[in-house]
């Protein structure tokens, strides 16, 4: 919402600047129709936008001006100089209000009714008043502080060209750095070069951020979409949005707009039942559509869940068989997940009839293709009768891809890290190879999957035996798993990927190219293309076979993150508790407060995991842990790995940060006790309807020293002007007890006296006072 507001303010300000000139010209020649139209457009737009936000006074003003101008445009009224002045005054006032809104102040003093009255054709006598209030307005404007951050609007093309220039700069810098190394440049050059290099990195980061947009921009239009669709289909649907503050590459937001809309359409049209059916099924009459966005590493998980009828797997199978996509025999071999995945096959839908809403000939296969085109993946999970959940996993950005560089033959290649599930060495004891004709199969963790040799796929003459190579287990967007045998693994790198010439793209093996720091070009492998060439995908039958499990799956552990704490200890925390991992500047850490706090973005989070400021360095990585309601940050030294917690946790003797110790990779590792962490660090969520505590109005001590304590105890502080009944009232000794309401606590400045008078406390008896407030509060709740 803040973004939208900033945009509204920027737009209005821009229009104000443009309309300023028009106003002057109109004043000189009130008959000028073009000027009139421009001003009319301005007030009309402002009116429209105000209705969207809640600015009734702004709306009233612009509405009145619009009405008057509309009369003039319709020729029912002439543009008298007096009307011009009145409109000018209103435009000025709009400017003043925009300033005030931006500065977060109250809107300037009232007097709009005078301005509005001046527009009336017969309000000849309000001219004086008008002059006065116009003066007012301009006064308010000049005093408006410029503290608030302003935003401007830029053409997208400009932003993109800056981004691409910066990418080129980085490449040129790398090139220069390599040449300097080779040529052995004068050391005096190194200092400035390093500085240039650092600045360039900062610029790149800033530009990347410029391209990032909160996903709110995408979410903003959804409530309306859902409302319209449900009205059209005679259903009742409530939309629930979560995670609007997650940021995504602007281009990516555009790319997923249509797929997301389509999924929502499907959910409302096919998923959520009409009210009568819902009631009959024992559900609430109103269906819910829950859309949540979450950042997980360098991917964004976007989940769309409905509580509708779910996907009928059997009907999908019937349709698929009827459409000839799979044979009857194949159909019988499918499990539930595979059946539901059929929804992504072309030409298959469970819709009994085509409706105007989702029957537009665009199926989920197109949705999947679009998501995969941007390097994302899509999964569907449905329980008949209970609902469907579709999860999109998307990369953060399109142009910089976290990659793994691998060697095949004598050459280096890159592959997107998002595909990589696991890396194992061919000689590892827990994997087995099997030959089936020319094909090689490998069994890893009880799953038998196809094994491709990268050298062989690329047509190199000699290749290593799979046993001697490194296997990269790859999970394709469709969920298929296969192993790619490479000669060597080199490095993880963030690569700026450039498109390839058509002749090279035509091979279907590469997705792009980039320059490494040493200046050599490297090809980015098109993993999906390679799999397609090897005929590993696009065939339901093979898909089912590839995921066929040859052995009962081992007891799966809880996924957890292994990291090094700032105290140097190895620790794990369950992955489910982690919301995000962030790098923050150590300057944003405040260890002096209790609990310690850290600034992330523009919010303060309680910070755990750090005891010594010296351990922080300049930047510190923090895990953002969430329990659904509140979030806390946990400072770490570095991330080691993601692991599965399978072994037993030996419980710690004392409750504390660690719930116990477990074995990870043969080393003792502390398991974080997230329950304890939240209990100690997270602020209890504020009650929606806090109890009210009345403090005596005139008492300076009560309002400055006591009030924070009362608020911390969960009370809302009011003074004597409060009309309702306060749950508790504080009286100070000698002061008058408040007339109305509830319990009264009297505070005495003399500890001796406090003991004598019942219901009174010494005013610095903090423990007693807090206990009394807490007791009253729980009494109220009971």
């Amino acid at each position: 919402m803040d973004d939208l507001l900033a945009e509204f303010l920027a737009e209005t300000r821009e229009m104000l600047a443009a309309v300023g000139g028009e106003l002057v010209a109109w004043e000189a020649n009130p008959a000028d129709r073009a000027r009139l139209d421009a001003i009319f457009r301005f007030v009309h737009t402002v009116k429209g936008n105000c209705g969207f936000f809640d600015f009734p006074r702004l709306e009233a003003l612009s509405h009145a001006a619009e009405d008057a101008l509309a009369e003039v445009r319709a020729g029912r009224r002439s543009a008298s100089p007096r009307l011009v002045t009145a409109v000018l005054a209103i435009v000025d006032r709009i400017g003043a209000m925009i300033d005030a809104i931006e500065a977060g102040e109250d809107l300037p003093t009232r007097g709009e009714d005078v301005l509005i009255a001046a527009l009336e054709p017969d309000s000849a006598d309000s001219a004086d008043l008008l002059a006065e209030s116009a003066g007012d307005a301009s006064g308010a404007r000049s005093t408006a502080p410029n503290g608030a951050q302003r935003s401007i609007r830029l053409p997208i093309g400009l932003l993109d060209s800056v981004m691409s220039s910066v990418s080129d700069l980085v490449l040129a810098r790398n090139d220069l750095s390599r040449r300097m190394r080779d040529a052995g440049v004068d050391p005096a050059v190194h200092g400035p070069f390093e500085r240039l290099s650092t600045i360039l990195d900062q610029v790149r980061e800033a530009v990347t951020r410029m391209r990032m947009q909160r996903i709110e921009h995408l979410f903003g239009a959804l409530p309306r979409l859902v409302r319209d669709l449900s009205a059209e289909l005679g259903k009742q649907v409530m939309i629930d949005l979560e995670g609007g503050d997650v940021e995504l590459d602007r281009e990516m937001i555009e790319m997923i707009r249509d797929p997301l809309t389509h999924i929502i359409r499907n959910a409302i049209d096919h998923g959520i039942e009409p009210p009568s059916q819902r009631l009959a099924a024992g559900k609430r009459e109103i269906g819910t559509l829950h859309i949540s966005a979450r950042q997980s590493g360098n991917r964004i998980m976007l989940a769309i869940a409905d509580d509708g009828r779910g996907i009928d797997g059997m009907r999908l199978v019937e349709k698929a068989v009827a459409a000839g996509a799979i044979s009857r025999a194949e159909a019988d071999g499918l499990d539930d997940t595979a059946r539901q995945a059929l929804i992504f096959e072309p030409g298959i839908s469970t819709a009994a009839e085509v409706t105007s809403v989702s029957g537009r000939g665009v199926g989920m296969d197109v949705v999947r293709a679009n998501i995969e085109r941007v390097g994302g993946s899509i999964e569907v999970n449905s329980r008949p009768g209970e609902g469907t959940r579709i999860v999109l996993s998307l990369p953060l950005t399109l142009s910089i891809i976290p990659s793994l560089t691998v060697g095949a033959g004598e050459q280096l290649f890159a592959m997107p890290r998002s595909y990589v599930e696991e890396i194992v060495h061919g000689s590892a004891s827990h994997i087995e190879f099997a030959r089936a004709g020319d094909a090689t199969l490998v069994t890893v963790r009880g799953k038998r999957v196809a094994c491709l040799s990268l050298s062989e796929q690329l047509g190199f003459a000699d290749h290593l035996r799979p046993e001697d190579s490194t296997l990269v287990l790859i999970r394709l967007a469709s969920g298929d798993l296969f192993a790619l045998a490479v000669d060597r693994i080199f490095d993880h790198e963030e690569l700026v990927i450039k498109p390839l010439a058509p002749a090279v793209m035509a091979t279907g093996l590469y997705a792009g190219s980039t320059l490494l720091d040493d200046g050599n070009p490297v090809l980015m492998l098109d993993i999906a293309g390679i799999a397609r060439k090897a005929q590993l995908i696009g065939d339901v039958q093979k898909r089912a076979r590839a995921s066929e499990e040859v052995a009962e799956e081992q007891v799966r552990g809880t996924p957890a993150l292994l990291f090094m704490g700032l105290d140097g200890g190895r620790k794990v925390v369950r992955l489910g508790a982690i919301r995000r991992i962030e790098r923050v500047s150590a300057a944003g850490v405040d260890l002096a407060s209790d609990p310690p706090r850290v600034v992330i973005g523009d919010s303060l989070f309680p910070l755990a995991g750090v005891s010594d400021a010296a351990a922080l360095g300049e930047q510190v990585s923090v895990l953002r842990l969430g329990d659904g309601d509140s979030e806390i940050a946990y400072a770490i030294d570095r991330i080691l790995d993601t692991v599965e917690l399978t072994g037993e946790v030996a419980a710690a003797r004392r409750t504390g940060e660690a719930e116990g110790t477990t074995l990870v990779d043969g080393l003792p590792t502390e398991v974080l006790d997230t329950h304890w962490l939240f209990a100690c660090f997270a602020a209890p969520p504020r009650a929606l309807d806090p109890p009210v505590c009345r403090l005596p109005s005139g008492d300076q001590w009560a309002h400055t020293i006591l009030a924070p304590l009362v608020e911390a105890a969960g009370y809302r502080v009011v003074d004597d002007s409060f009309e309702g009944v306060a749950d508790v009232a504080i009286a100070t000794e000698g002061g008058e007890a408040s007339p109305a309401g509830g319990t009264v606590i009297t505070l005495c400045s003399d500890p001796e006296r406090a003991g004598q008078v019942p219901g009174s406390l010494y005013r610095y008896d903090r423990a007693g006072f807090s206990a009394a407030l807490a007791a009253l509060r729980s009494g109220r709740a009971a």
Binding site: G459, F460, P499, V504, P521
Partner: protein, 145 residues
């Protein structure tokens, strides 16, 4: 037509490229091969932090390939529909003025040349076949490859 062309030699024949299409002539550095690519694509190379696709001009016409050039060999840098290419040719002669419009070649220009050539132009360095960049970079038809 009074324009300048770069006169080059491909597979022993004199050919010409419009100067407007030629970026520069550079000495090639190391070439990184592209496994699986058609024969006329020799690989990728880096030039001033750009990635170039290196094209064997003879092979792209459908003639016996020139093969990988040595490091330091000169190549013609051209831009075509957003991509930058380095053309490996037998020799790069000089810039010359074209004397007149391209004229159809009397008789058959020979295998492959018909496809990539816009016609014969007279230059002050003798007659040359004017190369159509788009046709050249598309490579020989798949049947021939």
């Amino acid at each position: 037509m009074n324009q300048l062309v770069v006169v080059i030699e491909i597979a022993g024949r004199r050919a010409a490229l419009r100067t407007a299409e030629v970026q520069s002539v550079v000495e090639l550095e190391a070439i990184c091969s592209v496994p699986g690519a058609p024969r006329f694509v020799l690989g990728l190379t880096a030039l001033r932090s750009n990635t170039l696709t290196v094209i064997d001009a003879a092979a792209a016409i459908g003639l016996p390939p020139h093969g990988l050039p040595e490091t330091g060999a000169r190549a013609v840098i051209v831009d075509h529909s957003g991509h930058r290419y380095a053309l490996v040719v037998d020799a790069i002669d000089d810039v010359a003025a074209a004397l007149g419009d391209p004229a159809p070649v009397a008789g058959d220009a020979g295998f492959g040349w018909d496809r990539v050539s816009e016609g014969l132009i007279e230059t002050d360095r003798g007659p040359a076949l004017l190369i159509s960049l788009g046709a050249l970079l598309a490579g020989p038809p798949l049947v021939a490859a």
